[in-house]
Symmetry: C2
Subunit: 155 residues, 2 copies
């Protein structure tokens, strides 16, 4: 095995930094705009946040246990409930990450029964999907006249 | 050093996959909308694409040589010229990547004289910035009534 680009420890820290920023974007939305506002006919940001929740922890559970759950609810809900789930998932992600066998990241798995790839690519896809949709959220906030949180701030 | 999350070879392939998708997003914009359209007062996508060009290759040059160039032009230009530069940078990125000493990714550098961090974090920041702004571009395209390329397609 060659030198790493990045270690598993540094990668989960990187992901959690993104999640702290995404949490601030969820918080920045007015309650009544989370599921009732979008641009260009796209999904509202609340739906995108629920998609992130449906991917992160379920992906990690699958990587740890090879059991893929796809039944995470997508019904609109209050912002406070989304943030509470977000915080629960933050802790669960750290706990699950610690259970991933070190060699697993280079192995191939079929996520959710349909997306086959190297585990590191599956995880980067989950992170990229969050960054991509959060970028949409930045546009929605600007269109609402709200200043989004700073992209570079991850603490 | 612990097991890698991902190797340098896999990471540059991952980045180049993103760059292929971003190239398709640039291509999808009508010529007259690249520098003259945005949503919510944000920068137009042409300006975002030039920012990506100002970060990618200059970042890699800096990581290889410790010389940080910040003079990449930001003036509006024809789409064909942006795509030509994009393709030149694609090749240059592969060439520069091959010159990065394997241990460099774990070292700390100060990018462009002001952003200090582990090299892997500096590189992930460059990729995340591309994904973030490309997500904005997806919204601009939808607002223009144009179907964006598929997010999951990276070939």
């Amino acid at each position: 095995m060659s030198n790493p680009f990045i270690t598993p420890d540094a990668l989960i820290q990187h992901w959690q930094g993104h999640r702290r920023l995404t949490r601030r974007v969820i918080e920045a939305f007015p309650e009544d705009k989370l599921f009732d506002f979008s641009v260009g006919g796209m999904r509202p940001f609340g739906a995108l946040a629920l998609e992130m929740l449906a991917i992160g922890v379920p992906m990690l559970r699958g990587i740890v246990s090879s059991t893929w759950e796809t039944d995470f609810g997508r019904d609109p809900r209050p912002k406070s409930e989304i943030l509470r789930t977000w915080d629960e998932h933050t802790k669960e992600m750290d706990a699950l990450w610690a259970k991933i066998p070190p060699q697993r990241f280079q192995e191939t798995m079929k996520a959710f029964g349909q997306y086959e790839g190297k585990v590191h690519d599956l995880l980067l896809y989950a992170i990229d999907n969050e960054v991509h949709h959060r970028g949409q959220g930045f546009v929605y906030l600007r269109a609402l006249g709200i200043e989004p949180p700073a992209f570079y701030e991850r603490n």
